[in-house]
Structure formats: C-alpha cells, structure tokens
C-alpha cells in the first residue's frame, strides 16, 4: 500500500515503513539499544531525503523513550540533578546542532556531513562492540575473569566547578556532564540519534555513575534533547514528517516488545556480535555511497526561500 509522505514528498510503501520500524524496534528490544543509529540510515537507503530522515527520527525517539523513562522514574532510577545538568548541556548542544544543520543545508553539504558522521560513528561503535563481544565469548570459554579497579583517578577529576550529586554519590565537576550533554545534543541534531550509545559509556566510565541510574538518567536526557531537536528542526527546516514518525513508531513499539521477550531466551554475547556485524554492514553501505562514482555527478535542489 503506497502512502504519500507530506513532508518527505515521496510515495513509499506503508508496510515497508511499518516493517522497518518493527525490525529496528525488535533489535532495540533485543539488545537494549535505542536504534536511532540504525533507523536513520535505513530511511536514507529507501530514499527518504537525509534531512527529513534525521529530523523525523529525532521525533520518533521522543516517543520511543517515554515509556522507558517513566518506568525508571517510578523505580526512582533517575539522578534528577545529574539529568538536569546533562539536559542543560544537551539543549545548548542541540540548538547549536540544528543551527549547524541549517547552515550546512544551505551550503548543500548536509547529506555529506550526515553520511560521514554515520560512517565514523557506526564504524567505531561496530568495531568496539565486535571486539568486546568477541573478548567476552573467549573469556567465557576460558572460564577466566579479570577484576576491574573499583575507582580510578582520571584527568577529569581535576576540573573546576565541582558539584555534589547525591543520587549518584559523586562529587565531580559540572563541566563533565555539561560537556557530555552538549556533545550528544549536537549528534542528536545532525544524526537524528538519541545518543545513548555515547552517553551511557561516558556516564559509566568517565563520570563514574552507578550503573543502576545510568539508563534512566540517559533516557531522561534523551527525551528533552530530542524534543528540542524536533521543535527546532520543525521551526527552521520544516523537515519533521509526523506521518512518517507515526508509522515508524507503530512498527517500533510492537517490534520492541517482541524483541524484549525474545531477548530473554537467548545467549547475549553471540547476539551482540551479530548486532556489531549489522552495524558494520550499515557503515560499509554508507561508506560505499560516499566513495562510489555517482550515476550523475549533478544534482538539483530548490532554493530555500
């Protein structure tokens, strides 16, 4: 069933979109990842303009993060104070990001920047995940275990503007979560991702937050930042397609439930290496589109009024 998307201005099969939402939702339920970093490339592959894919994906992540964030809120798994600092950085970062997005769009370089950002991030994350899961598989086979140090003193602990975060039992510089929030905000605007895959490792390894509050606080931040991206993209670029977001969401919600149920029954590390391979595959595909000689080196675009 073909459906005409009002903002993307193309006709796409509605079941393809539902299926895509379902697939990415299933993967995100299975692996406990956000899935934004897979959805936007998939949308670009089926012909949605990259600018629309990225902005609409931000809108969809708002929806995908709400129920998770509410659940963590009820279980008091959110460090509100830390969350607010992250959000402050995130709002600033995403505002700068959307401004940068508009500027690059006017230069005609936004598609290139989106593609390059994806190649870099998918490449790095895919490789790290693959190495990590491969190591985990090997470790389990050898039945050996190494202990991690309980506390490490890093350069980040020397930064000024120290703040006390009771929920996380931390006394650290506010610049650290502020900066992390800012960086993730820029990514959210340019790549249409929630940024959990960056924020969570930063919170655990760099900030040193207890793992219990990491996921909830990250979701808390993602909602505000992606909402800000949605608003600003709609305001400045008119690239948020509500119809596309809703179709992806419906598929995504069902897929995520199935993925969560399915994931409980399976062995984690082999699955993670599969996800890593998938991420690397998507990365390779995007890289190919950058380096392959285009069918026509010329392209048309409307002058933005």
């Amino acid at each position: 069933m073909q459906i005409y998307l009002p903002i993307a201005e193309i006709s796409v099969d509605a079941f393809l979109l539902l299926g895509l939402g379902g697939l990415v939702g299933f993967l995100s339920g299975l692996f406990g990842v956000g899935g934004g970093f897979l959805m936007a490339p998939f949308l670009i592959f089926i012909g949605i303009p990259p600018a629309v894919a990225v902005a609409t994906e931000a809108n969809q992540i708002v929806a995908a993060s709400v129920s998770g964030a509410l659940a963590h809120w009820q279980r008091k798994n959110i460090d509100i104070k830390m969350g607010i600092v992250l959000v402050a950085g995130g709002l600033l970062g995403s505002t700068v990001g959307v401004w940068l997005f508009s500027y690059l769009r006017s230069l005609g370089q936004i598609d290139l920047v989106i593609a390059i950002s994806y190649v870099i991030f998918l490449g790095v994350i895919g490789s790290l995940m693959f190495a990590e899961s491969a190591r985990a598989v090997l470790r389990r086979r050898r039945q050996a275990s190494t202990r991690r140090k309980l506390h490490q003193h890093l350069w980040v602990h020397g930064l000024p503007f120290k703040m006390r975060f009771h929920r996380s039992k931390l006394y650290i510089s506010a610049l650290l979560p502020l900066g992390a929030g800012f960086f993730v905000g820029v990514l959210a605007a340019i790549m249409g991702v929630g940024g959990g895959f960056i924020l969570i490792p930063v919170m655990i390894y760099l900030i040193g937050m207890p793992t219990a509050v990491v996921v909830g606080t990250s979701l808390f931040q993602i909602i505000f930042v992606t909402a800000n991206v949605t608003f600003l993209q709609a305001l400045h670029n008119q690239t948020v397609d509500i119809l596309l977001a809703l179709l992806l969401l419906v598929g995504g919600v069902v897929g995520a439930q199935l993925g969560t149920r399915f994931g409980g029954k399976l062995q984690g590390d082999e699955l993670r290496s599969l996800l890593a391979l998938l991420v690397l595959l998507v990365c390779a595909r995007m890289l190919w589109e950058l380096v392959a000689t285009p069918a026509d080196v010329f392209s048309l675009s409307l002058v933005q009024p």
Binding site: Y4, S11, V62, G108, A234, L235, V240, I242, V297, F298
Partner: protein, 248 residues
C-alpha cells in the same frame, strides 16, 4: 417533428454552437481533468487531452509547470569522497515540462521556431544568475534538463498525439508521484505549413488535498506550533504504547 422535442434540440444546437463558436475556431482542445489532487495514495496521474481541428494540420502540445528557482550542484571526488563542489543558480525554471506532437517535431516546425517558442526541453530558456563562462553554463543547463528527465518531470514525446479521424486528436499526459504542486499551463498549437495557425491554452492545477495538504500547510505556515504538536503526539503515543503493553 414532435413539438415537445424542439426545445431540447434547440438547446443541443446552442450547446454545440457554444463549444464551436460561429467564427469557426480552427482548434478546440480540453483536458479530461483540470485538477490533479495529491492524496495519501497518490502514485502519479494521467490526464487525457482531446480536441478537434478545423481542417488539416499538425498538433504540438506543451505542458509547463510552475516556475522554480533551482540550484544545480556538481560533485567532485575529494580525497576519494564524492562531495558537492560547484554550483549554479537557475531562475524561473519550469518545475515540469513536456512537449508532444503527432509526428516527429522536426518535420512540423523548423528549428528557429522551436527555439523561439521553447518547444522541447533543450530549447527552454534557462537563465543562470551565477556568473560563469558560456561552456560552464551550458554544462549545468544540460545537467539540469537531464536530472529533470530522470525524475520524469521533463519529457519529449513525439508521435504521442494520436489522430482518431482527420480532425479529432487525443493524447495522455503523465504526471509522476513527485509532480510539484502549482498551476500548470497546457498549450496546444495547430501548425500548418510550418506556421502556427492557432493556439489554445488551458490551465491545470496540481494541489495537495486532504490530510497531506493539511500537514504540509500546517508545517510551513505554523512551524512552531507544528513542532509542539509533533512532540506532544510523540509523548502521548509513547506513553500509550507503554501502558498498553504493560497490560498485555
């Protein structure tokens, strides 16, 4: 003759005269539809153009979409990566253009007349507002036409017009799913011995309707409110999904 039938016949004659005025227009043409509506299920549209000529002659049809300002960009390989490098602006480019005729266009109208009347995409006067050499402008102009042709927005269809008798003709105009909205003009020329004898112009409107139009207009006219609605919808949808699946 039955007297009751007389007014009916008179009305019919009047209608006939109305369609073909007494001055005997050499050319009459119309479209099966003057409105193309882009709805949710839109996958392109076909409009039938039909008409009649007084006496012999050739028919040329030119369909022109609304004017656009376009940027044509050229990619170059930089360190192995293809990126946009050069660009050129073009003003008042028809968003859609197609020409059709009943036999090869070169047999109907001479070259200089095709240029003067912009018959055929290659004869469109596409003005660039970017300073450049003539060679570069030509290269980009050709590229613009080629891209439009790939998108099925520019076309040339000689021999597409079929004469059903000496005077009745018809053709089908095709508009793809990506057809831009706006007011189109359909110009029908009657050509006799390399001279345009008669011209008739008919408008055709392409517009978005229903939910699509409402969403598009809302997004552009009230961008801030649209953004807030988008966030609100996402929050409600996400919350509902969470509630629903916790129960299941």
């Amino acid at each position: 003759m039955n007297r009751a039938r007389l007014p009916f016949l008179a009305a019919l004659t009047l209608l006939w005269l109305g369609a073909f005025p007494v001055r005997a227009e050499p050319l009459v043409a119309d479209l099966s539809d003057h409105l193309i509506e882009i709805t949710t299920g839109f996958t392109g549209a076909e409009v039938l153009l039909f008409g009649a000529t007084e006496g012999a002659g050739d028919i040329v049809v030119i369909v022109r979409g609304p004017a656009q300002n376009l940027i044509v960009r050229q990619k170059e390989s930089v360190a192995g990566i293809w990126m946009n490098r050069n660009r050129m602006h073009f003003k008042d480019v028809p968003a859609y253009y197609t020409a059709a005729s009943n036999r090869p266009i070169a047999e109907i109208v001479p070259h200089e007349m095709r240029v003067r009347n912009e018959i055929g995409a290659e004869n469109l006067r596409l003005a660039t507002t970017t300073e450049s050499t003539k060679e570069a402008a030509d290269l980009f102009r050709k590229a613009l036409i080629r891209r439009k042709q790939t998108q099925q927005l520019y076309g040339m269809a000689p021999g597409e017009i079929a004469f059903m008798s000496n005077s009745l003709f018809q053709t089908r105009l095709y508009f793809p799913a990506t057809v831009p909205v706006g007011i189109y003009t359909v110009k029908v020329l009657l050509v006799r011995e390399k001279q345009v004898v008669s011209v008739q112009t008919t408008p055709l409107i392409v517009q978005k309707t229903g939910v699509e139009a409402a969403i598009f207009n809302f997004a552009h006219a009230h961008a801030a409110q649209y953004g807030i609605v988008a966030i609100f919808l996402a929050l409600v949808a996400g919350w509902l999904a969470g509630v629903f699946f916790r129960r299941v």
